[in-house]
Amino acid sequence: MKEKIRIASGQGFWGDLIDAPYNQVYGGEIDYLVMDYLAEVTMSILQKQKNKNPELGYARDIPELMKRILPECKKRNIKIITNGGGVNPIACAKAVLDVAKSLNVENLKVAVVLGDDIREKIDELILQKCELNNMETGESIISIKDKILSANVYFGAFPIVEALQKKADIVITGRTTDTGLTLAPMIYEFGWNKNDYDLLAAGTVAGHILECGAQASGGNFLGDWKSVPDMANIGFPIAEAYPNGEVIITKHENTGGKVSFETVAEQLLYEIADPKNYITPDCIADFTSIKLEDLGNDRVRVYDVEGLPETEFYKVSCSYADGFSASATLTYSWPEALTKAKAADEILRKRLENLNLKFEEIRTEFVGHNACHGPLAKSLNEDDINEIVLRIAVRSKDYNSVERFGKEIAPLILTGPPSVTGFAGGRPKPSEVVAYWPALIPKKLVEHQVKIFEV
């Protein structure tokens, strides 16, 4: 058994710094590179791409990245784990193998985790009285069945562990929890068991710290953010994991950013609900048990984490088409910038009303005044306001109403209040609203498979 392993976070979401995984590989010693590419909205986008072209539906950054890091990772035996397979992990694996062949990388095993995509099985599940009731409203999925874009089960760490046991160099999954990507190598390397709940919780906590990339190492840090050095070269976090569940969060030397009690604590609180019940497919982690010790030099020790047994359910995330929306902005300058923007908003709303368009919601925000903090924003004297961006957004089930809204923006320049600018890029186009349907499914109704491809 290894004494410790270093797991590097290479991506906090699809669209994160392209060079981050490259820098994690070349910036120092690591054993694993883990990359989270999937936000909820990503799955529906990928499904649409796959519908158009059955060879797509995964994060296409991955083969591009592999061209830059694959030979080095193979040479140093750095294993790569990512959920960027999206709704088509096999196509992703094949693209990676093509890269390997073109670079003459040999003896490469790429594992794919399948079974999370249950879109085709929903009818069957309904017949089995599993109606994937909405976790928030209790409603049966039958009501939106025909509008479903994607439906995926969140797998945990164990399918990835299985892939690592089959000696995979690269593991590509579809929907897997972000935390599972980091927990899996710890289970595999240290031989943890399915009922070592404290250890599984420790690895899960490490995964939560790593899952948003540099958000744990000084990015988006609301504490003393100006003290974070060299953000231009921010180092992504690395979990140095030990067999007893202790983890040291750090980053490569000679990188920017900061790993401290404060930066790690902020990330631990990101997107959590009840801290005593952080539920994953692998265990329930108790975030109130976590101990943090700032060791200095960008090292924070995370220890004494406690966990409880996992539940009998997987979480399912379905996305479905739910109408259309569009937003537009116009910029008004001093004097009386806010008054002008408010007048323009009134004029626009009156015109939309006269046109008898149907909207579920029309939302107006004055950027520079109250878009972020609403009624909490300080009111300013008009004379102190230099400019205001008027932002208006609409949502409707009716495509034509949203499209027409887009045609009513530019006319405000010549038919509304003065000193207005910033209308570039043409008419705003309606975009499809993708809504989410969170549900639970008994684990026994879902099976995962691990397939190996090799060159």
Partner: protein, 105 residues
């Protein structure tokens, strides 16, 4: 009674959980955490976010991190891509909570 600015004793981070936002507030030291624990109630947070949060507010304590976690239901205009808000994910709500002044004894 004296007034204390939350911004001076704490920092935090916020994000989305569907249509709910969560706000983690972390004190810079133990003394600050005692103030948060004693005075920063769910009711106060609910009142602070009047006109923004339209649901209930849950409050959780994490003394180990010198932190409180608040979950604000019905806050993000539908959440995800349904929301028309510029800040549909509630990213700036932690800063909005730090605007609060606490009255302490």
């Amino acid at each position: 009674m004296k007034k204390i600015k939350l911004l001076e004793i704490a920092h935090g981070r916020s994000g989305d959980k569907g249509d709910a936002a969560n706000i983690g507030i972390i004190a810079y030291n133990e003394e600050g955490y005692k103030i948060l624990e004693k005075y920063l109630s769910a009711d106060l947070v609910k009142k602070h976010f009047e006109g923004i949060c339209f649901g209930k507010v849950d409050r959780y304590e994490l003394p180990n991190l010198r932190a409180l976690n608040f979950v604000l239901h019905n806050t993000l205009g539908g959440g995800g891509t349904v929301s028309l808000k510029l800040d549909a994910q509630g990213k700036t709500l932690a800063a909005a909570l730090l605007r609060m002044e606490l009255e302490i004894e």
